[in-house]
Symmetry: C2
Subunit: 162 residues, 2 copies
């Protein structure tokens, strides 16, 4: 798709993050499986549920724009997930692996935070008022997930690994 305007770039970025959310849906089960601390498993499982809801929010935004929901390959999330999978495969010690998994999940969250922050900003300037509500709801969930990951890392995971 040729990008000739901010509206084109907005739609491209929606497709990028739609691809990313679907990639995250595929990657999270292995991260849950490979984590050993019960509260890491629970937090990631809760976020897997949230991610399913986020995909639906995005589909609602595509519909508002009169567009078919579709993804466009996102090398950024592929790279972030590849790093996570490499580390999970390599680390044998369960506590160290948990620390790596939490850090990897935070890298995923930060990618989403930057993209949704941009999309909310572009929705405002482009007058896509109906989209703002959906995108802000997702953005707030990603920020909350990142905070919960920091809390769990600092209260428990890092100490166990050290």
């Amino acid at each position: 798709m040729a990008i000739q305007s901010l509206q084109d770039l907005y739609l491209h970025t929606l497709k990028d993050i739609y691809f990313a959310e679907n990639a995250i849906l595929k990657a999270l089960p292995a991260m849950i499986e490979k984590s050993s601390a019960q509260d890491v498993k629970q937090l990631l499982t809760m976020h897997l549920d949230e991610t399913r809801g986020q995909v639906q929010h995005l589909e609602a935004v595509f519909k508002m724009l009169g567009e078919q929901a579709s993804g466009e390959e996102c090398p950024a999330i592929e790279g972030i997930i590849e790093e996570a999978e490499d580390l999970m495969g390599e680390i044998q010690d369960p506590d160290t692996r948990d620390a790596a998994i939490v850090a990897a999940a935070q890298a995923v969250e930060h990618y989403e935070i930057t993209r949704y922050g941009t999309l909310v900003s572009w929705s405002q300037i482009l007058g896509h008022r109906d989209a703002i509500q959906h995108l802000t709801a997702i953005l707030d969930q990603e920020k909350a997930a990142d905070k919960k990951l920091t809390a769990i890392a600092e209260a428990k995971v890092n100490q166990k690994a050290a």
Copy 2:
């Protein structure tokens, strides 16, 4: 390098972000060249200078740890930069391209914010007190750069592109 402990993971992550900073040093000049708004150029140029200083901070941390400064391939930053370069190459309209460049720079910042946040946290738990000062200095610069990019996007770049 086999990762068997949090200390190994810490060193791995330092090498990952050292690779990333050097990749950013190589990528920023094209982003500056391709941006058209004078204040986007200035902000990225200032951040290029900051990035050179961050590489030196990291080299000081490696030295403290008695390790040779070296990078380990970081697919995440490669993916983020690949997306930025694809978009910059594709978008002809200068105002739309500026919006894409600012968004791409924010994706870079957020990757750094998540990694340095993790590294500061691990420095504390591992007792690398001397490293904390360097890593916190970088983290603060990345957060400030992200805020400046948001400010420039919202005050000017997005409106021009819309």
